[in-house]
Structures are given as structure tokens and as C-alpha cells.
């Protein structure tokens, strides 16, 4: 399946792009992260500490263990600092 992967804040900076299209058969967010981290040093650096990574599936906050069934857009970002 084809998924849009979005990055925000320092994940965006480390990876060097705000958005990429990914062909994947990953079943969970963690599986997808493992595939992405294996791509190059930039991706590896961005995902080095998963305790500092949050995600949203189709724009809903989700857990890293969530399944990717039918998901079109996955976003990765650090803990939010709004308000």
C-alpha cells in the first residue's frame, strides 16, 4: 500500500523533508518506523529515540502499536507543545 508520511518539528528537520510517499506492507506503526529507520542515517537519527516520537494516523493521535489497516496518512512528531 501507498502511505503519505508527514514529519513535524525536529523530526522534519532531521529527515530533511516535511512529507514523503512510502510503499510499504508494514502492519503497525512500529513496523513502518523500522522500515523508515533502515532507509538512511537521517531517518535513523529521527527515530533513534521512540520515547520522543508521537504519531497520528489519518490525523488522529494514535499509539505506535496501532495497526495501519486502511490508513492513508501517517504523521510523526515530537511531544506537542501547544497552548
Amino acid at each position: 500500500m501507498t502511505i503519505d508520511v508527514l514529519y513535524f518539528a525536529w523530526l522534519r528537520e532531521r529527515i530533511g523533508t516535511p512529507r514523503e510517499q512510502v510503499e510499504t506492507s508494514a502492519r503497525t506503526v512500529r513496523d513502518l518506523i523500522a522500515e523508515l529507520a533502515a532507509r538512511d542515517d537521517w531517518h535513523a537519527a529521527a527515530f533513534a529515540d521512540l520515547g520522543a516520537v508521537r504519531c497520528a494516523l489519518d490525523q488522529q493521535l494514535s499509539e505506535l502499536d496501532a495497526a495501519l489497516d486502511g490508513v492513508r496518512e501517517v504523521a510523526f512528531f515530537p511531544p506537542m507543545t501547544g497552548g
Binding site: Q59, P78, G82, G83
Partner: protein, 149 residues
Amino acid sequence: MTSPIMRARVQSAGFDLATELAGFGTGAGAVVTFTGVVRDDSGRMAALEIEHYPGMTERALNDYGQQAASRFGLADWRIVHRHGRLAVGEPIMMVATAARHRRAAFDAADYLMDWLKSRAPFWKREIGRDGTACWVDAKASDETALSRW
């Protein structure tokens, strides 16, 4: 109590509390507002930059505001949150809540702020006068605050 009107807005422009509150909370007995302002703790900050998740932010704010309205029985509510580059002293965001009684209005505003701090897709970066840029770390205390509810 609340109609499904969009009561949350994300914008780069400034906002004016009085304008936002025109006609707000008619019939309610208690109105609480919170305004967050860019503060320079270090004395070396030039600006604050706020990044957000354009597709998600406004809808998430509206969904959550409507949940809070239902939980606290609000007569009305507003959230305005800015993004982009803000100077020290500029307002960052505001929350307004209206309810029959003050406890509900206070609690709902407090609750929405706790949620905004750690669940709304915004990321702050401090821009120093020397040109350095530093992402603001999330505070463990914000997470603790949210677990109160």
C-alpha cells in the same frame, strides 16, 4: 448544548479578545478566558515560532472543544490558536468558556488548556536574538496535569 459550529480557529494573524467575545455566551452566568502570551524568560529571545499540522489542528481543536462543552455543560466556548512567528509580548492563543456557574467555566478552561498543552498538534521553537533556534521541550508536568481529569 453546543451546536456543531466551528468554534476553534487556527491562524497566523493576531486576535482581539473583545472581538472574540462579542455576543459570546449569551444567557450564561460565568465567562472565563485564558490568554497565553509570548514570554521571554532568558532575556535573549527574539521571537517564538509555532509549527502546526494544518490538516489536523483545527478539526482536532473543534472535536475536543465539543467534548469539553458536553462534559462541562458549556453554553459556549472558543479556542483561537496562532501559528507562525510571534514576537515577545504577542498573544499566542486564547480559550473562552461560558457556563451557568463559575465552577464549570473555570474547570472547562483549565481542562482545555491542559489538553492544548500536550495533545494539540503544535510545536514551539524559540528564536534567539543571536539567530539560534531551539525547539521547546514538552514538560512532564503538562502530561501530569492532563491526568488530573
